[in-house]
Symmetry: C2
Subunit: 485 residues, 2 copies
């Protein structure tokens, strides 16, 4: 874990309070830390002198900065040269952060196995309220904190609607505020292919909504680095063999031609699993993806494959016979998936998949994402019984909207509430709030996702006994105001 | 009707088309005009030379400007001094607008009875597409247009959440794009009293969320003028006797003290209808409102009055006896409402009311707003049978959200589909899309209201036979892009 990363996990709360909204620190902590002791002793701090520094024994290298000064005090307006704060009584000049993770330096990427625990030595204090410009107050506090689940993701879908870079970066800021640590980037789908490939530039040239609606290699690097500095992994999803209509526009002979009786109908189905050229393409394509995205995992999709087109195609039918698949097209799907898994494994990447894929021969470190709302507890049970690691998305499809405070519904989900042994429960490593893009673009992304996703954020971070809706409401209201500032 | 106003009603469509999105003018008209003839003959126009002018015979005075140059061409970027358009073939240099309404000049306010019909002489043309900067294209066209309903409103609620001035002005722009002509400003309610009264400044001093969350007299004038220039009336709603908790904070002895048995409970109910001081206050208050808001109408609310507090109060019970009301508190409500109606009438204002009020003695020009979703057709029938003018809000509560394209539901409402004679049908003069503010503030107002409200806009403007959902989808998609630009 890097110093930058741990800093992203701190609970430094400071309110630009007017007299109307003063409140205790505990009223606005989100997500609630695992352990918090706050004393009544108050200290003052001056933004132009206050520093976040590494404490003695911290394993962070000397060059490791700590982000989030601006998250606390706002856009550097306190550091303007003309402004100087008067001397304060009982001034707090430093907050010491001690990085206990063994890896020094700040250049590595966050990983699934990274420790996110952090603590503040007794000498450190938690900032707390502001009474006009002369008195940021802070209660002397001790915090020990760590996440309940290691995988806490937000899914953004940039295919149904393109999202400008700025929307993605803003969302990464919001994620950091809520201790989410995975951006599941559902980057391409049927509707468009905005990822600009270096090996296959025609994919976005032909498959994106326009030449402007793409993510260049520079854009992708920027997203990854912006996320890294906030302790957030970026896991791209390249969903196949279904959900691939846009791939076919820039890559000939990749999709299955559908037939009307004896004749090709002119439309296309899933990736064509019977040609060697398909796997040559995928081999090269995933070589690029493995190198562009530094995370240990790639999401390979695998959901909702329709067999209709495969069934209509005489060449596919012949292939089924050759392989001895009979008329079981699920076997053909497995055949394809297995080859893709092998390709990706050969580049030393782990994979995430949607739940449909889990009866294939998967590597033991595969993460299976459970998304179907119908009886997801049963599915969690099956997946973990088979020994696979699971994450839960089903109850957190935030693109489904309804009137009123639906955050309570998301908040009240207890992920481990499924039938299974303790060993099975441990295989559930987290969850994701998914914002599919059919009705989402830059105009409504932020207010649609936040603060609703904050409910999922606390559920995945805080202790399982943090369930009081009234207390959460109060803290979430204050947290929302802090995010808006 | 003023020239400014008629201009707000024109259908000048001009797309900053890239090559991918070129389309016919008919594909993006919204709301659809009553009559449109477009020829294939295309003309070009240069933004730096093109003018909107008054044609011969127009009743507009010479000083009447015409807005919307910028709505068409964008923020004056075409008029930068360094930029000069090359000579164009078949250039269109003017669009002539002929104002046929009898009132000359541009200083009057739009009114319910104002004519909004407009036409473009045969020599005028409808701008149409843009092919890079050198060719804004326009098809020679003839339009005759007028609204189906005279009252086409948007309700904004600035009490549940305060809306900054900028949000209101942006919304007025969106309204103009969709030919809405009434801003129903639900300005105060239980939760807060942001209207800064000149006679009673304590109402907002004590009743607003803070000293900053108010609308000063200057703010109100700005909203009214910004609306006027876009042909939009501003009808304020001061809802009484219920929905008035915030009034009680800054005005002592205005609300009814509730009782627990023999003792006042400390909480308050609706406006106290039994004291003369109540009517002295209302007399003065509505004198101010009548002068601040120039529209012929004030919305007086009158919805959802709970009798519980009145029933608990011994003084109210005595008053009921004196008046011979027995235990019929609806009579007390009527007693109060009638006095308020008389006060407002004395200032030569008409009134709008929510449907609960319509069994009072109302002036014949009263507009009754039907809002209850349950069997609203029956209510429209009753209201118009009683001879009152009605507007419909019930099926258009846009704060109720759900997944997917709910605009189709709003679009498919046929307002005149209620039991009644042709005379009754004529008493239905329009409708309103209502965005109540419980879950709406500046962060989500625009994407929540638009383009969903556009569906209501076309329903209220265009001919009753404009009902094709597929055609509407195509036009609305283009219209949304135009609004975003």
């Amino acid at each position: 874990v890097t110093a930058l990363r741990t800093a992203a996990r701190t609970h430094l709360l400071l309110h630009a309070h007017g007299p109307l909204t003063a409140g205790a620190a505990e009223d606005s902590l989100w997500p609630l830390p695992q352990s918090l002791r706050t004393s009544r002793r108050q200290l003052q701090l001056a933004p132009d002198r206050f520093q976040l520094v590494h404490g003695a024994g911290s394993s962070a290298g000397p060059g490791c900065g700590i982000l989030y000064y601006e998250y606390i005090f706002g856009q550097s307006r306190w550091r303007s040269p003309g402004r100087q704060w008067p001397p304060l009584r009982r001034e707090l000049s430093q907050l010491q952060v001690v990085i206990t993770a063994p890896e020094p330096g700040c250049d590595s990427y966050p990983r699934l196995a990274s420790s996110e625990a952090c603590e503040y030595p007794a000498g450190s204090r938690l900032p707390r309220g502001a009474v006009c410009w002369a008195a940021f107050l802070v209660n002397e506090s001790f915090i020990y904190d760590f996440p309940r689940f290691a995988h806490r993701g937000i899914l953004l879908d940039t295919s149904r609607h393109y999202l400008p870079l700025k929307s993605i970066l803003t969302n990464l800021d919001a994620m950091a505020f809520n201790k989410f640590n995975v951006l599941h980037w559902h980057i391409v789908d049927d509707q468009s292919f905005p990822y600009q490939s270096m090996y296959f530039p025609e994919l976005s040239n032909k498959g994106a909504y326009s030449y402007n609606h793409i993510y260049t290699p520079t854009d992708v690097r920027l997203v990854i680095e912006y996320a890294r500095l906030r302790g957030i992994r970026v896991i791209p999803e390249f969903d196949t063999p279904g959900h691939t209509q846009s791939w076919g526009k820039g890559q000939k002979d990749l999709l299955t031609p559908c037939y009307n009786g004896e004749q090709p109908s002119g439309s296309f189905g899933p990736i064509n699993p019977i040609w060697n050229s398909t796997y040559d393409f995928m081999n090269k394509f995933f070589k690029e993806i493995s190198s562009v995205f530094p995370d240990d995992y790639i999401h390979l999709g695998g959901d909702e494959v329709s067999f209709d087109c495969w069934k209509s195609n005489p060449d596919v039918k012949d292939f089924m016979k050759e392989q001895g698949f009979g008329i079981d097209y699920a076997k053909l799907e497995s055949y394809y998936i297995q080859k893709i898994l092998d390709i990706v494994s050969s580049y030393n990447k782990g994979y995430m998949v949607w739940q449909e894929v889990f009866d294939n021969k998967l590597k033991p470190d595969t993460v299976v994402e459970v998304w179907m709302a119908n009886n997801y507890a049963h599915e969690l049970s099956s997946v973990t019984q088979a020994g696979f690691t699971a994450i839960l998305a089903a109850p957190w499809y935030l693109d489904y909207i309804s009137y009123g405070q639906d955050w309570k519904k998301y908040y009240s989900v207890e992920p481990r509430n499924f039938p299974g042994s303790e060993k099975q429960k441990k295989l559930l490593i987290g969850g994701e709030a998914c914002l599919w893009g059919e009705f989402v673009d830059a105009t409504n992304l932020t207010p649609r996702l936040w603060p609703r996703a904050s409910a999922v954020g606390e559920r995945l971070w805080s202790s399982s006994n943090v369930t009081d809706l009234q207390d959460a409401y109060k803290r979430l209201s204050n947290h929302r105001c802090r995010m808006l500032r």
